[in-house]
Amino acid sequence: MAKLSTEVSTRSSRLLIHPCQRKNPLIPHIRDTPWEVSDVCPDFEVGERSCVLFLSVRYHSLHPEYIHERIGQEGMQKYNLKVLLVLIDMTNVKDILMELTQTVMRSDLTLVLSYGNSEAAKYIETYKRYEHKPPGLIMEKAETDFHKRAGECLTSVKSVNSTDSQTLLRHFGKMERVMKASKTELLACPGLGPTKATRLHTLFNKRITRKA
């Protein structure tokens, strides 16, 4: 029983490769990820619900029907993310690229281009490696410094600049008090004219309406 479970876990941590891809010249470039040949439907299974189909442009120009057959296979249905990894190994691929783009739109695939075997291999490895990675890397980095962060908030109001935001914080001490301040209180801050004060006050006291 215990043995079986370890087997399962190793299996899921491996990159699974369809037998027909065994001779693909990109395979030697997969160095950092453990992989095994397995009887999966797509060319590469990079995650439980994500897979990669590989296509060389040169091959596609000779056998344009091949990729449609592969996409249409029933086993493809279970994947949430289906990547079509296209290797550009010809010049002047504009028309093919255009046709493939339309194909992926119709069949809900994600198109990724690579210009060499090593780059293609790197994409596959990255897909496997990032399988469970949270999106933090591509999300907006939040400013950790309090003053800068508060400055960012306050300067999002039109015509309020960073000097104003510093004045506001110094005057009121806390963000909470800035947000609760009355218009006269805001006006008491040096450098804050009626326009800025009204804008801030309106923003903080705008009643939030909800659509039914």
Partner: protein, 846 residues
């Protein structure tokens, strides 16, 4: 002038492109053309002018008492005001981005425009908004004129048939060329010639040595570059010679040529290109600046190299080549004199043998001679200098403080280089006994003024000086910095304001020579003397001669092209069957699905909604050309809406990298995926650029391909379209749109603001509650809606208890938000400023 009248007459024949030689006064031609149209009976739009130029034209026309003074239309005008302005007629200077939107929205009465004028017509290509505007205009208006003006002949001959392309864009039937060698121009300018005294100054021995070695170094670097980037030889070879290094736009041209393959250019080659720029800078500095500035520039570069580690050592490789030794020793000798074994410690200021630039004494001589010559009135002597630094120095020199100034500079240099070396610093202070701060120095002999002074105080100083000047027999000397005169009209304006009789061209410049010729022709009563200074056998001389030659060759080439040019009957696009205006995209590419679509004619009007910010790119114009109508609106989500469920976010490769790193793309994709079932990320390369993300990475640490992978993993619904260039992007968008229902503008506008918070209150100027909320720590895209549901206003949020906030958005985010709102700013030190909390406290109390 006669040729200006002829130019105006020419324009009556029909749409035209007018190219003048540099300095012949393209601004005056524009002015006389504009004068014709300052009437409410017609509407003439002027494109491609800079604000300074608009200001100049308006001012000049105002002085002429035209019936209707032109206006500049900028973004400050609301659409409604603009509409009124269009209806009023007259001349309007308008920014292309505004006009294109107004035409598409039909806010501008295209049929009522009597003509469009395009200034700086050399900047127009098929890929510009201006060309798009003209196409839209011709499509709906068959009677108006289009005129293009330019004074940059050499930019019309860069590529094959370039002038033809520009004319096609302008729908111009006629090409009018006005080179300097045109008979009419020659006739007028030769009638009264200024007295030109060419003064060839010899370079000093050291300067000659330095120049030699610099040219050698450039040659060697170019050879290396060619070895590193073999593809460079497939480009226009003529651009990559030592000679081309001397031309002004060298740095840009090399960058432009390599731009298409820039991503594949190795680090080494990039640093070589950087070196070329540095060498070129040194070459100019040699001829323009004094010996101390040159030496300190060189030292600065040397110290940069010394401080870099072995790993970065590819920078400034030329310093290790042989000619560099000669260069450095000669540069040192100019400062320290011939003594070979001067070490820093033993130099005192009095021992320094600072070499004077040969031109300085010559200039002083010219001025003293010129001020001795009798003039009817006390007109200033104008000295035209290339850059501010030289102008600054000359100011000191002419006041007899040349050496003091050099010592000042030397002291600054030593100071910056050995900032830590207290000992030497003190020595210098001690030896500088007779140092007088600049403001306390007695003013001597000539009152010298810089351009800034004479511009800012213009009229006032003029009056103040004139009465005092006759007392002293010397007229005042005005130093003019050419770098401050970027636009063609400014030099002429200055000449008119100051009315000089003697002009010294300290640096040779083609445009100024012509300006002075024109000035003389306009004022035949003034006996103008021009002193034309040039270093003999120098780069400066070569540069001047080659600019002269290039312009002449350009014009000769244009004249030849004009004689061979075939202009189709329907060039002006006034015929409805004009092929250039056709929006049928049936290009050379066989369409795969034509049989499915049936004929185009059966289709109803096709429409794409485009975000207004996208009009900076060419794609909307290309889409329009494919027969799809464009509707510009301000979109919150996406850039192009093809159909009710299809939304495209377009990213140029550079933008993609930038927005993947900043996290902006993540937010955009979140929004697109929420509102549209078919969100598309369109990655668009520039012409010749590769779509390969691996090699596009500038800094090696950023794994862009990896980030894209992560993006697709988190947005499995997001489709990616890869386009090699904007043309392909337009074709793809066309195909994707095929047989899809039309998008609705109201729905597209509503996307992203369904809570009625973004733009509900115009007074807030865009910053809505939602915007503000999302900036707070702990508030995320996934949880901000739950907050909005619970609060009445932002001030209500501020008064919620920690417990309540946690109950809305959870423990971690809730705590972060509450702590942020209730943190006392006075006890958090300001980062970077090192202010203590105490001082902040006292600040508040005060």
């Amino acid at each position: 002038m006669d040729y200006e009248r002829q130019i105006v007459l020419d324009t009556l024949e029909g749409s035209s492109l007018i190219i003048l030689a540099r300095g012949l006064g393209v601004h005056r031609c524009m002015l006389s053309l504009l004068k014709l149209h300052c009437e409410p009976s017609g509407l003439v739009l002027v494109l491609n002018t800079y604000p300074t130029e608009e200001y100049y034209f308006i001012e000049m026309l105002q002085r002429d008492y035209v019936t209707m003074v032109p206006r500049s239309v900028t973004g400050e005008f609301l659409a409604k005001d603009r509409q009124a302005l269009y209806l009023k007629g007259g001349v309007l200077f308008i920014s292309s981005q505004i006009l294109v939107m107004d035409i598409l929205r039909k806010c501008c009465p295209t049929d009522k425009i009597s003509g469009i004028m395009v200034y700086h017509a050399d900047k127009i290509t098929e890929q510009t908004i201006e060309a798009f505007i003209l196409r839209l205009y011709r499509e709906r208006n068959k009677t108006g004129f289009i005129h293009g003006l330019s004074d940059c002949s050499d930019s019309f001959v860069g590529e094959l048939y370039q002038v033809d392309h520009v004319m096609k864009c302008l729908f111009a039937r006629h090409l009018h060329l006005w080179p300097r060698f045109h008979a009419t121009v020659k006739d007028i300018l030769d009638r009264v010639k200024p007295d030109v005294r060419e003064i060839h100054v010899r370079l000093s021995v050291h300067m000659e040595q330095i120049q030699f070695s610099l040219v050698d170094l450039i040659k060697l670097t170019l050879e290396q570059l060619e070895k590193k980037v073999p593809s460079i030889s497939s480009f226009d070879k003529t651009q990559l010679t030592v000679e081309s290094c001397l031309l002004l736009n060298f740095a840009q041209s090399i960058r432009l040529q390599l731009d298409s393959v820039w991503t594949q250019v190795g680090q080494k080659a990039k640093s070589l290109i950087e070196d070329l720029t540095t060498l070129r800078r040194l070459l100019f500095s040699l001829l323009q600046h004094d010996c101390v500035t040159f030496w300190s520039l060189l030292k600065q570069i040397k110290s940069e190299v010394d401080s870099t580690t072995i790993h970065q050592s590819c920078r400034h490789e030329w310093l290790f080549m042989e000619p560099a030794d000669t260069l450095i020793s000669a540069a040192r000798d100019r400062v320290y004199g011939g003594e070979p074994h001067f070490s820093k410690d033993t130099v005192t200021l009095s021992e320094l043998e600072l070499e004077n630039n040969p031109k300085w004494s010559v200039l002083a001589d010219i001025i003293s001679v010129a001020s001795g010559e009798q003039h009817p009135e006390s007109a200033p002597i104008l000295v035209v200098v290339d850059d501010t630094q030289t102008a600054n120095y000359l100011e000191y020199y002419l006041e007899g403080e040349g050496r003091e100034r050099l010592l000042d500079l030397y002291h600054d240099m030593v100071n910056t280089i050995n900032q830590t070396d207290e000992h030497i610093n003190r020595r210098f202070y001690n030896s500088r006994k007779h140092y007088v701060p600049p403001e306390k120095r007695p003013k001597l002999s000539h009152p010298v003024k810089t351009l800034e002074q004479c511009f800012s105080k213009s009229a006032a100083t003029e009056d103040n000086d004139s009465p005092s000047s006759p007392g002293i027999s010397t007229p005042c000397v005005k130093l003019v910095t050419q770098h401050n005169l970027l636009y063609p009209h400014q030099a002429a304006q200055l000449l008119e304001q100051t009315r000089p009789h003697t002009v010294v061209l300290y640096h040779p410049d083609l445009s100024w020579v012509r300006q002075l010729e024109c000035y003389q022709a306009i004022h035949p009563d003034i006996q103008l003397t021009v002193h034309f200074m040039m270093y003999k056998d120098s780069i400066e001389e070569q540069r001047f001669l080659s600019s002269l030659r290039r312009e002449k060759e350009a014009f000769e080439c244009l004249v030849k092209q004009k004689s061979l040019m075939v202009i189709p009957e329907d060039r002006e696009g006034k015929d409805p069957s004009c092929t250039y205006l056709s929006r049928d995209p049936s290009g050379p590419i066989p369409e795969m699905f034509t049989h499915l679509c049936g004929g185009r004619k059966d289709e109803t009007e096709r429409r794409i909604i485009v975000d207004v910010r996208e009009f900076k790119s060419i794609l909307p114009a290309l889409i329009h050309k494919r027969g799809i109508n464009i509707e510009p609106v301000t979109l919150e989500v996406g850039d192009y809406i093809l159909s009710p469920d299809m939304c495209v976010e377009r990213k140029a490769v550079a933008d993609l990298i930038q927005s993947l790193n900043s996290g902006r793309l993540y937010n955009q994709c979140t929004a697109m995926c929420r509102y549209y079932s078919k969100p598309i990320l369109l990655i668009e390369a520039k012409e010749g650029e590769y779509l390969c993300l691996d090699k596009n990475i500038q800094g090696t640490s950023q794994d862009i391909a990896g980030k894209l992978v992560l993006l697709t993993l988190h947005f499995p619904k997001l489709r990616i379209a890869w386009c090699e260039n904007p043309l392909m992007a337009a074709e793809l968008i066309d195909k994707l749109k095929k047989q899809k229902p039309e998008p609705s503008t109201e729905t597209a506008l509503g996307m992203g603001c369904d809570l009625d918070l973004f733009t509900g209150d115009k007074y807030l100027g865009g910053a809505g509650v939602e915007d503000f909320l999302l900036k707070l720590p702990g508030v995320k895209f996934r949880n901000y809606r739950s907050i909005l549901r619970e609060i009445e206003s932002l001030s209500h949020l501020a008064s919620l208890s920690q417990h309540k906030i946690i109950s809305i958005i959870g423990e971690e985010d809730g705590t972060a938000l509450w702590t942020f709102l209730h943190k006392d700013a006075r006890f958090v030190s300001v980062e970077g400023k090192g202010q203590s909390t105490l001082s902040l406290h006292t600040d508040v109390r005060n």
